[in-house]
Symmetry: C2
Subunit: 234 residues, 2 copies
DNA sequence: ACCTGAACACCGTTCAAGT
DNA sequence: ACCTGAACACCGTTCAAGT
Protein backbone atom coordinates (compact mmCIF):
# COMPACT_ATOMS: atom_id res chain seq x y z
CA UNK A 1 0.00 0.00 0.00
CA UNK A 2 2.06 2.89 -1.27
CA UNK A 3 1.24 6.32 0.12
CA UNK A 4 -0.47 8.80 -2.19
CA UNK A 5 -0.77 12.53 -1.81
CA UNK A 6 -4.30 13.95 -1.35
CA UNK A 7 -4.61 15.31 -4.89
CA UNK A 8 -3.71 11.95 -6.41
CA UNK A 9 -6.15 10.26 -4.09
CA UNK A 10 -8.97 12.56 -5.05
CA UNK A 11 -8.26 12.18 -8.73
CA UNK A 12 -8.18 8.42 -8.43
CA UNK A 13 -11.40 8.48 -6.44
CA UNK A 14 -13.27 10.49 -9.02
CA UNK A 15 -11.80 8.54 -11.89
CA UNK A 16 -12.89 5.15 -10.58
CA UNK A 17 -15.41 5.43 -7.86
CA UNK A 18 -17.33 2.14 -7.69
CA UNK A 19 -16.22 -1.43 -7.73
CA UNK A 20 -15.85 -1.44 -11.48
CA UNK A 21 -14.28 1.99 -11.78
CA UNK A 22 -17.37 3.18 -13.57
CA UNK A 23 -17.70 6.94 -13.85
CA UNK A 24 -19.99 9.39 -15.58
CA UNK A 25 -17.01 10.47 -17.67
CA UNK A 26 -16.26 6.89 -18.66
CA UNK A 27 -19.89 6.26 -19.54
CA UNK A 28 -20.10 9.42 -21.64
CA UNK A 29 -16.74 8.81 -23.33
CA UNK A 30 -17.62 5.23 -24.28
CA UNK A 31 -21.07 6.43 -25.38
CA UNK A 32 -19.44 8.94 -27.64
CA UNK A 33 -17.18 6.28 -29.14
CA UNK A 34 -20.18 4.05 -29.78
CA UNK A 35 -22.09 6.96 -31.30
CA UNK A 36 -19.18 7.80 -33.57
CA UNK A 37 -18.90 4.24 -34.83
CA UNK A 38 -22.51 3.08 -35.00
CA UNK A 39 -24.80 6.10 -34.87
CA UNK A 40 -27.57 7.16 -32.54
CA UNK A 41 -29.96 4.26 -33.13
CA UNK A 42 -27.29 1.73 -32.20
CA UNK A 43 -26.44 3.55 -29.00
CA UNK A 44 -28.67 1.63 -26.58
CA UNK A 45 -28.20 1.37 -22.84
CA UNK A 46 -27.79 -2.36 -23.22
CA UNK A 47 -25.02 -2.32 -25.82
CA UNK A 48 -23.20 0.50 -24.08
CA UNK A 49 -23.25 -1.43 -20.80
CA UNK A 50 -21.94 -4.52 -22.57
CA UNK A 51 -19.04 -2.54 -24.02
CA UNK A 52 -18.17 -1.31 -20.55
CA UNK A 53 -18.35 -4.84 -19.13
CA UNK A 54 -21.10 -3.89 -16.76
CA UNK A 55 -24.79 -4.58 -16.26
CA UNK A 56 -27.27 -2.32 -18.02
CA UNK A 57 -28.57 -0.85 -14.81
CA UNK A 58 -25.10 0.13 -13.62
CA UNK A 59 -25.23 3.00 -16.11
CA UNK A 60 -28.14 4.52 -14.27
CA UNK A 61 -25.89 5.24 -11.32
CA UNK A 62 -24.04 7.79 -13.44
CA UNK A 63 -26.62 8.92 -15.93
CA UNK A 64 -30.26 9.53 -15.14
CA UNK A 65 -31.67 8.40 -18.47
CA UNK A 66 -30.73 7.76 -22.08
CA UNK A 67 -31.72 11.35 -22.86
CA UNK A 68 -29.35 12.57 -20.15
CA UNK A 69 -26.56 10.46 -21.65
CA UNK A 70 -27.21 11.78 -25.15
CA UNK A 71 -27.15 15.38 -23.95
CA UNK A 72 -23.88 14.80 -22.10
CA UNK A 73 -22.38 13.41 -25.31
CA UNK A 74 -23.68 16.36 -27.34
CA UNK A 75 -22.18 18.68 -24.74
CA UNK A 76 -18.87 16.85 -25.02
CA UNK A 77 -18.83 17.25 -28.80
CA UNK A 78 -19.71 20.94 -28.72
CA UNK A 79 -16.91 21.51 -26.22
CA UNK A 80 -14.51 20.48 -29.00
CA UNK A 81 -15.59 23.59 -30.88
CA UNK A 82 -12.72 26.03 -31.22
CA UNK A 83 -13.92 29.62 -31.09
CA UNK A 84 -11.67 31.90 -33.13
CA UNK A 85 -10.87 35.29 -31.59
CA UNK A 86 -13.11 38.17 -32.60
CA UNK A 87 -11.39 41.20 -34.09
CA UNK A 88 -12.67 44.51 -35.39
CA UNK A 89 -12.89 42.89 -38.82
CA UNK A 90 -16.31 41.57 -37.88
CA UNK A 91 -17.10 40.06 -41.26
CA UNK A 92 -13.93 37.99 -41.22
CA UNK A 93 -14.58 37.01 -37.62
CA UNK A 94 -18.08 35.77 -38.43
CA UNK A 95 -16.79 33.70 -41.31
CA UNK A 96 -14.18 32.10 -39.06
CA UNK A 97 -16.70 31.38 -36.29
CA UNK A 98 -19.26 29.66 -38.45
CA UNK A 99 -16.69 27.80 -40.50
CA UNK A 100 -15.45 26.41 -37.21
CA UNK A 101 -18.98 25.37 -36.26
CA UNK A 102 -19.37 23.62 -39.59
CA UNK A 103 -16.02 21.85 -39.15
CA UNK A 104 -16.83 20.39 -35.75
CA UNK A 105 -20.19 19.16 -37.03
CA UNK A 106 -18.70 17.57 -40.13
CA UNK A 107 -16.07 15.90 -37.96
CA UNK A 108 -18.82 14.31 -35.82
CA UNK A 109 -21.49 13.38 -38.34
CA UNK A 110 -23.41 10.96 -36.12
CA UNK A 111 -23.56 13.56 -33.39
CA UNK A 112 -25.65 15.95 -35.50
CA UNK A 113 -29.08 14.43 -34.75
CA UNK A 114 -28.08 14.21 -31.08
CA UNK A 115 -27.07 17.86 -30.99
CA UNK A 116 -30.28 18.87 -32.73
CA UNK A 117 -32.35 16.95 -30.18
CA UNK A 118 -30.52 18.24 -27.11
CA UNK A 119 -32.67 20.22 -24.70
CA UNK A 120 -29.79 21.96 -23.01
CA UNK A 121 -26.38 22.75 -24.49
CA UNK A 122 -24.50 25.30 -22.37
CA UNK A 123 -21.33 24.83 -24.43
CA UNK A 124 -23.03 26.53 -27.37
CA UNK A 125 -23.11 29.84 -25.52
CA UNK A 126 -19.42 30.38 -26.18
CA UNK A 127 -20.33 30.48 -29.86
CA UNK A 128 -23.17 32.88 -29.15
CA UNK A 129 -20.88 35.19 -27.16
CA UNK A 130 -18.31 35.36 -29.96
CA UNK A 131 -20.97 35.96 -32.60
CA UNK A 132 -22.60 38.71 -30.53
CA UNK A 133 -19.21 40.40 -30.14
CA UNK A 134 -18.73 40.32 -33.90
CA UNK A 135 -22.20 41.73 -34.53
CA UNK A 136 -21.49 44.55 -32.09
CA UNK A 137 -18.37 45.38 -34.06
CA UNK A 138 -20.61 45.42 -37.12
CA UNK A 139 -22.84 48.03 -35.52
CA UNK A 140 -25.83 45.80 -34.85
CA UNK A 141 -27.90 46.14 -31.69
CA UNK A 142 -28.20 43.26 -29.25
CA UNK A 143 -31.65 42.18 -30.37
CA UNK A 144 -30.57 42.26 -34.01
CA UNK A 145 -27.44 40.41 -32.98
CA UNK A 146 -29.49 37.61 -31.49
CA UNK A 147 -31.62 37.44 -34.61
CA UNK A 148 -28.50 37.35 -36.76
CA UNK A 149 -27.04 34.65 -34.53
CA UNK A 150 -30.05 32.38 -35.04
CA UNK A 151 -30.01 33.11 -38.73
CA UNK A 152 -26.39 32.03 -39.11
CA UNK A 153 -26.70 29.08 -36.74
CA UNK A 154 -29.82 27.67 -38.36
CA UNK A 155 -28.30 28.10 -41.77
CA UNK A 156 -25.06 26.39 -40.79
CA UNK A 157 -26.62 23.47 -38.93
CA UNK A 158 -29.21 22.90 -41.64
CA UNK A 159 -26.56 22.94 -44.33
CA UNK A 160 -24.38 20.48 -42.43
CA UNK A 161 -27.32 18.18 -41.77
CA UNK A 162 -28.02 17.92 -45.48
CA UNK A 163 -24.37 17.38 -46.23
CA UNK A 164 -24.08 14.57 -43.71
CA UNK A 165 -27.15 12.66 -44.83
CA UNK A 166 -25.45 12.33 -48.18
CA UNK A 167 -26.44 13.64 -51.61
CA UNK A 168 -29.56 15.41 -50.46
CA UNK A 169 -31.83 12.54 -49.39
CA UNK A 170 -34.72 13.10 -51.74
CA UNK A 171 -34.01 16.74 -52.34
CA UNK A 172 -31.69 16.01 -55.21
CA UNK A 173 -33.52 16.94 -58.39
CA UNK A 174 -31.26 14.68 -60.44
CA UNK A 175 -32.30 11.68 -58.36
CA UNK A 176 -35.95 12.70 -58.61
CA UNK A 177 -35.84 13.04 -62.38
CA UNK A 178 -34.22 9.64 -62.71
CA UNK A 179 -36.88 8.08 -60.47
CA UNK A 180 -39.60 9.76 -62.45
CA UNK A 181 -41.12 11.38 -59.37
CA UNK A 182 -40.67 14.69 -61.16
CA UNK A 183 -42.33 15.83 -64.36
CA UNK A 184 -40.19 18.10 -66.49
CA UNK A 185 -43.39 19.69 -67.84
CA UNK A 186 -44.44 21.01 -64.43
CA UNK A 187 -41.03 21.74 -63.00
CA UNK A 188 -38.82 22.99 -65.82
CA UNK A 189 -36.37 24.92 -63.66
CA UNK A 190 -35.91 22.04 -61.24
CA UNK A 191 -35.20 19.70 -64.13
CA UNK A 192 -32.82 22.23 -65.64
CA UNK A 193 -31.05 22.54 -62.30
CA UNK A 194 -30.79 18.77 -62.12
CA UNK A 195 -28.50 18.72 -65.13
CA UNK A 196 -26.31 21.45 -63.71
CA UNK A 197 -23.56 19.11 -62.59
CA UNK A 198 -22.09 18.02 -59.29
CA UNK A 199 -23.18 19.74 -56.11
CA UNK A 200 -20.43 21.51 -54.19
CA UNK A 201 -21.25 21.67 -50.48
CA UNK A 202 -18.32 23.93 -49.68
CA UNK A 203 -19.31 26.42 -52.39
CA UNK A 204 -22.93 26.37 -51.23
CA UNK A 205 -21.89 27.05 -47.65
CA UNK A 206 -19.60 29.92 -48.63
CA UNK A 207 -22.33 31.37 -50.84
CA UNK A 208 -24.76 31.35 -47.92
CA UNK A 209 -22.21 32.87 -45.58
CA UNK A 210 -21.41 35.63 -48.08
CA UNK A 211 -25.06 36.35 -48.72
CA UNK A 212 -25.97 36.61 -45.05
CA UNK A 213 -22.97 38.75 -44.16
CA UNK A 214 -23.62 41.05 -47.13
CA UNK A 215 -27.18 41.39 -45.93
CA UNK A 216 -26.04 42.20 -42.40
CA UNK A 217 -23.60 44.78 -43.72
CA UNK A 218 -26.39 46.42 -45.70
CA UNK A 219 -28.51 46.47 -42.57
CA UNK A 220 -25.79 48.03 -40.44
CA UNK A 221 -25.26 50.72 -43.09
CA UNK A 222 -28.99 51.53 -43.00
CA UNK A 223 -29.16 51.94 -39.22
CA UNK A 224 -25.79 53.28 -38.15
CA UNK A 225 -25.33 53.18 -34.40
CA UNK A 226 -21.75 53.99 -33.56
CA UNK A 227 -20.15 51.09 -35.42
CA UNK A 228 -16.79 50.00 -34.08
CA UNK A 229 -17.13 51.94 -30.80
CA UNK A 230 -16.92 50.04 -27.55
CA UNK A 231 -19.85 51.79 -25.89
CA UNK A 232 -22.05 49.64 -23.67
CA UNK A 233 -25.54 50.28 -22.43
CA UNK A 234 -25.38 51.91 -18.96
CA UNK B 1 -77.92 -4.94 -55.16
CA UNK B 2 -78.39 -1.60 -56.82
CA UNK B 3 -76.55 -1.01 -60.08
CA UNK B 4 -73.58 1.34 -60.01
CA UNK B 5 -71.92 3.09 -62.90
CA UNK B 6 -68.29 2.11 -63.58
CA UNK B 7 -66.79 5.30 -62.17
CA UNK B 8 -68.63 4.86 -58.88
CA UNK B 9 -67.60 1.23 -58.75
CA UNK B 10 -63.96 2.05 -59.30
CA UNK B 11 -63.99 4.78 -56.71
CA UNK B 12 -65.69 2.51 -54.17
CA UNK B 13 -63.17 -0.21 -54.93
CA UNK B 14 -60.17 1.99 -54.36
CA UNK B 15 -61.71 3.58 -51.29
CA UNK B 16 -62.36 0.31 -49.49
CA UNK B 17 -60.52 -2.57 -51.01
CA UNK B 18 -60.21 -5.31 -48.41
CA UNK B 19 -62.69 -6.80 -45.97
CA UNK B 20 -62.25 -3.94 -43.55
CA UNK B 21 -62.16 -1.17 -46.14
CA UNK B 22 -58.57 -0.53 -45.23
CA UNK B 23 -56.65 1.60 -47.69
CA UNK B 24 -53.26 3.25 -47.89
CA UNK B 25 -55.04 6.58 -47.87
CA UNK B 26 -57.00 5.65 -44.76
CA UNK B 27 -53.87 4.42 -43.01
CA UNK B 28 -51.97 7.60 -43.88
CA UNK B 29 -54.88 9.88 -42.96
CA UNK B 30 -55.39 8.25 -39.58
CA UNK B 31 -51.62 8.24 -39.06
CA UNK B 32 -51.56 11.94 -39.70
CA UNK B 33 -54.39 12.51 -37.20
CA UNK B 34 -52.52 10.49 -34.59
CA UNK B 35 -49.32 12.39 -35.33
CA UNK B 36 -51.11 15.72 -34.99
CA UNK B 37 -52.58 14.78 -31.61
CA UNK B 38 -49.83 12.75 -29.99
CA UNK B 39 -46.58 13.37 -31.82
CA UNK B 40 -44.13 11.11 -33.59
CA UNK B 41 -43.09 8.94 -30.65
CA UNK B 42 -46.71 7.99 -29.94
CA UNK B 43 -47.32 7.03 -33.55
CA UNK B 44 -46.62 3.30 -33.32
CA UNK B 45 -47.89 0.66 -35.70
CA UNK B 46 -49.74 -0.96 -32.82
CA UNK B 47 -51.65 2.11 -31.66
CA UNK B 48 -52.44 3.16 -35.21
CA UNK B 49 -53.84 -0.29 -35.98
CA UNK B 50 -55.93 -0.17 -32.82
CA UNK B 51 -57.40 3.19 -33.85
CA UNK B 52 -58.34 1.73 -37.21
CA UNK B 53 -59.90 -1.32 -35.54
CA UNK B 54 -57.56 -3.68 -37.28
CA UNK B 55 -54.66 -5.96 -36.40
CA UNK B 56 -51.18 -4.48 -36.39
CA UNK B 57 -50.06 -6.52 -39.33
CA UNK B 58 -52.96 -5.40 -41.50
CA UNK B 59 -51.17 -2.07 -41.89
CA UNK B 60 -48.30 -3.78 -43.66
CA UNK B 61 -50.59 -4.58 -46.57
CA UNK B 62 -50.76 -0.87 -47.37
CA UNK B 63 -47.50 0.46 -46.04
CA UNK B 64 -44.18 -1.29 -46.31
CA UNK B 65 -42.73 -0.09 -42.99
CA UNK B 66 -43.13 2.56 -40.34
CA UNK B 67 -40.61 4.69 -42.22
CA UNK B 68 -42.72 4.39 -45.37
CA UNK B 69 -45.78 5.47 -43.38
CA UNK B 70 -43.98 8.47 -41.90
CA UNK B 71 -42.78 9.61 -45.31
CA UNK B 72 -46.27 9.31 -46.75
CA UNK B 73 -47.56 11.49 -43.91
CA UNK B 74 -44.78 14.04 -44.45
CA UNK B 75 -45.65 14.06 -48.13
CA UNK B 76 -49.30 14.63 -47.26
CA UNK B 77 -48.42 17.60 -45.06
CA UNK B 78 -46.14 19.21 -47.61
CA UNK B 79 -48.88 18.89 -50.22
CA UNK B 80 -50.89 21.33 -48.10
CA UNK B 81 -48.27 23.95 -48.88
CA UNK B 82 -49.75 26.73 -50.97
CA UNK B 83 -47.24 28.12 -53.42
CA UNK B 84 -47.87 31.80 -54.14
CA UNK B 85 -47.49 32.88 -57.79
CA UNK B 86 -44.11 34.26 -58.78
CA UNK B 87 -44.07 37.74 -60.30
CA UNK B 88 -41.30 39.97 -61.59
CA UNK B 89 -41.12 41.47 -58.10
CA UNK B 90 -38.81 38.63 -57.10
CA UNK B 91 -38.08 39.90 -53.60
CA UNK B 92 -41.76 40.07 -52.75
CA UNK B 93 -42.28 36.65 -54.30
CA UNK B 94 -39.53 35.10 -52.21
CA UNK B 95 -40.97 36.56 -49.04
CA UNK B 96 -44.40 35.16 -49.88
CA UNK B 97 -43.00 31.71 -50.73
CA UNK B 98 -41.02 31.24 -47.55
CA UNK B 99 -43.67 32.77 -45.34
CA UNK B 100 -46.00 30.13 -46.76
CA UNK B 101 -43.47 27.40 -45.96
CA UNK B 102 -43.21 28.68 -42.40
CA UNK B 103 -46.99 28.78 -42.06
CA UNK B 104 -47.55 25.19 -43.11
CA UNK B 105 -44.83 24.03 -40.72
CA UNK B 106 -46.20 26.02 -37.80
CA UNK B 107 -49.65 24.63 -38.55
CA UNK B 108 -48.29 21.06 -38.27
CA UNK B 109 -45.81 21.25 -35.43
CA UNK B 110 -45.55 17.52 -34.77
CA UNK B 111 -44.85 16.92 -38.44
CA UNK B 112 -41.60 18.87 -38.37
CA UNK B 113 -39.32 16.07 -37.12
CA UNK B 114 -41.02 13.72 -39.58
CA UNK B 115 -40.43 16.09 -42.48
CA UNK B 116 -36.81 16.56 -41.44
CA UNK B 117 -36.26 12.80 -41.34
CA UNK B 118 -37.97 12.07 -44.66
CA UNK B 119 -35.71 10.52 -47.26
CA UNK B 120 -37.86 11.46 -50.21
CA UNK B 121 -40.27 14.37 -50.46
CA UNK B 122 -41.32 15.02 -54.06
CA UNK B 123 -43.92 17.57 -52.95
CA UNK B 124 -41.13 19.93 -51.90
CA UNK B 125 -40.05 20.38 -55.51
CA UNK B 126 -43.00 22.71 -56.17
CA UNK B 127 -41.41 25.03 -53.64
CA UNK B 128 -38.02 24.67 -55.29
CA UNK B 129 -39.49 25.46 -58.71
CA UNK B 130 -41.16 28.65 -57.49
CA UNK B 131 -38.04 29.78 -55.65
CA UNK B 132 -35.85 29.14 -58.71
CA UNK B 133 -38.23 31.19 -60.83
CA UNK B 134 -37.97 34.07 -58.37
CA UNK B 135 -34.16 33.86 -58.30
CA UNK B 136 -34.09 33.96 -62.09
CA UNK B 137 -36.13 37.14 -61.98
CA UNK B 138 -33.54 38.44 -59.56
CA UNK B 139 -30.80 37.79 -62.07
CA UNK B 140 -29.20 34.81 -60.33
CA UNK B 141 -27.82 31.88 -62.27
CA UNK B 142 -29.22 28.40 -61.75
CA UNK B 143 -26.39 27.18 -59.55
CA UNK B 144 -26.60 30.29 -57.40
CA UNK B 145 -30.35 29.84 -57.38
CA UNK B 146 -29.97 26.35 -55.95
CA UNK B 147 -27.55 27.63 -53.33
CA UNK B 148 -29.93 30.44 -52.44
CA UNK B 149 -32.80 27.94 -52.26
CA UNK B 150 -30.96 25.81 -49.71
CA UNK B 151 -29.98 28.89 -47.78
CA UNK B 152 -33.57 30.06 -47.45
CA UNK B 153 -34.98 26.59 -46.83
CA UNK B 154 -32.48 25.69 -44.14
CA UNK B 155 -32.99 29.04 -42.47
CA UNK B 156 -36.77 28.72 -42.52
CA UNK B 157 -36.95 25.12 -41.34
CA UNK B 158 -34.36 25.69 -38.64
CA UNK B 159 -36.17 28.75 -37.39
CA UNK B 160 -39.51 26.93 -37.30
CA UNK B 161 -37.97 23.95 -35.51
CA UNK B 162 -36.73 26.20 -32.73
CA UNK B 163 -40.05 27.96 -32.54
CA UNK B 164 -41.97 24.71 -32.24
CA UNK B 165 -39.82 23.20 -29.53
CA UNK B 166 -40.79 26.16 -27.41
CA UNK B 167 -38.70 28.90 -25.85
CA UNK B 168 -35.46 27.73 -27.33
CA UNK B 169 -34.77 24.43 -25.58
CA UNK B 170 -31.56 25.29 -23.80
CA UNK B 171 -30.54 28.01 -26.18
CA UNK B 172 -32.38 30.63 -24.20
CA UNK B 173 -29.75 32.70 -22.41
CA UNK B 174 -32.32 33.87 -19.85
CA UNK B 175 -33.05 30.27 -18.88
CA UNK B 176 -29.32 29.52 -18.72
CA UNK B 177 -28.55 32.48 -16.48
CA UNK B 178 -31.35 31.48 -14.13
CA UNK B 179 -30.07 27.91 -13.97
CA UNK B 180 -26.55 29.16 -13.33
CA UNK B 181 -25.10 27.19 -16.24
CA UNK B 182 -23.79 30.50 -17.55
CA UNK B 183 -21.26 32.76 -15.89
CA UNK B 184 -21.80 36.44 -16.54
CA UNK B 185 -18.07 37.00 -16.19
CA UNK B 186 -17.21 34.81 -19.18
CA UNK B 187 -20.23 35.60 -21.31
CA UNK B 188 -21.14 39.24 -20.78
CA UNK B 189 -22.94 39.75 -24.08
CA UNK B 190 -25.00 36.60 -23.69
CA UNK B 191 -26.05 37.69 -20.23
CA UNK B 192 -26.82 41.15 -21.50
CA UNK B 193 -28.92 39.67 -24.29
CA UNK B 194 -30.75 37.53 -21.74
CA UNK B 195 -32.22 40.64 -20.14
CA UNK B 196 -33.29 42.06 -23.47
CA UNK B 197 -36.92 41.05 -23.04
CA UNK B 198 -39.31 38.65 -24.76
CA UNK B 199 -38.23 36.87 -27.90
CA UNK B 200 -40.32 37.61 -30.99
CA UNK B 201 -40.24 34.69 -33.42
CA UNK B 202 -42.05 36.60 -36.14
CA UNK B 203 -39.63 39.49 -35.95
CA UNK B 204 -36.65 37.13 -35.99
CA UNK B 205 -37.99 35.36 -39.06
CA UNK B 206 -38.64 38.60 -40.92
CA UNK B 207 -35.18 39.86 -39.98
CA UNK B 208 -33.60 36.74 -41.43
CA UNK B 209 -35.70 36.94 -44.57
CA UNK B 210 -34.76 40.60 -45.06
CA UNK B 211 -31.10 39.94 -44.45
CA UNK B 212 -30.91 37.06 -46.90
CA UNK B 213 -32.85 38.85 -49.61
CA UNK B 214 -30.74 41.99 -49.18
CA UNK B 215 -27.65 39.82 -49.54
CA UNK B 216 -29.03 38.20 -52.69
CA UNK B 217 -29.86 41.60 -54.15
CA UNK B 218 -26.31 42.76 -53.48
CA UNK B 219 -25.00 39.64 -55.18
CA UNK B 220 -27.18 40.11 -58.25
CA UNK B 221 -26.01 43.71 -58.53
CA UNK B 222 -22.39 42.55 -58.43
CA UNK B 223 -22.81 39.98 -61.23
CA UNK B 224 -25.44 41.39 -63.57
CA UNK B 225 -26.69 38.82 -66.05
CA UNK B 226 -29.71 40.21 -67.86
CA UNK B 227 -31.96 40.60 -64.85
CA UNK B 228 -35.68 40.43 -65.59
CA UNK B 229 -35.21 39.01 -69.13
CA UNK B 230 -36.81 35.68 -69.97
CA UNK B 231 -33.80 34.23 -71.73
CA UNK B 232 -33.21 30.52 -71.24
CA UNK B 233 -30.12 28.49 -71.89
CA UNK B 234 -30.29 27.04 -75.41
C1' DA C 1 -55.43 -10.16 -52.08
C1' DC C 2 -56.11 -9.11 -47.57
C1' DC C 3 -56.08 -10.07 -42.73
C1' DT C 4 -54.79 -12.48 -38.21
C1' DG C 5 -52.13 -14.25 -33.95
C1' DA C 6 -48.07 -15.81 -32.28
C1' DA C 7 -43.40 -15.22 -32.04
C1' DC C 8 -38.71 -12.97 -32.48
C1' DA C 9 -35.50 -9.79 -31.30
C1' DC C 10 -35.14 -5.90 -29.53
C1' DC C 11 -36.04 -1.33 -26.42
C1' DG C 12 -35.84 2.08 -21.67
C1' DT C 13 -36.74 1.84 -17.10
C1' DT C 14 -38.56 0.12 -12.26
C1' DC C 15 -37.81 -2.56 -8.47
C1' DA C 16 -36.06 -5.54 -4.92
C1' DA C 17 -32.01 -7.54 -3.68
C1' DG C 18 -27.30 -7.84 -2.94
C1' DT C 19 -22.29 -5.83 -1.35
C1' DA D 1 -22.81 4.22 -2.70
C1' DC D 2 -22.69 1.21 -6.31
C1' DC D 3 -24.03 -2.83 -8.85
C1' DT D 4 -27.05 -6.88 -10.35
C1' DG D 5 -30.96 -9.84 -12.42
C1' DA D 6 -35.57 -10.24 -13.15
C1' DA D 7 -39.49 -8.16 -14.67
C1' DC D 8 -42.64 -4.64 -16.91
C1' DA D 9 -44.40 -2.42 -20.65
C1' DC D 10 -43.44 -1.42 -24.69
C1' DC D 11 -41.34 -1.52 -29.86
C1' DG D 12 -41.05 -2.98 -35.51
C1' DT D 13 -41.22 -6.80 -38.20
C1' DT D 14 -41.29 -12.02 -39.82
C1' DC D 15 -43.79 -15.91 -40.51
C1' DA D 16 -47.29 -19.40 -41.04
C1' DA D 17 -51.94 -19.71 -41.19
C1' DG D 18 -56.42 -18.46 -42.36
C1' DT D 19 -60.38 -16.41 -45.78
Amino acid sequence: MAAKNPSMRRRAAQARSGRHGLTRDRVVAEGRRLLRKEGMEALSMRTLAQRLGVSTMALYNHVSSRQDLLEAIAQDVVEDLYIPPVTSDWQHSLRAIFRALREVCLANPHAMPVIERAEVLPAIFRLMEAALAAFRHGGLGLREGMQAYFLLTNFTLGQVSYEIRGPFRGLDPGEAVRRGTILSRDLPLVVEAASTGEWDFNAAFEFGLDTIIDGLAAHSRKTPRAPRSKTRAP
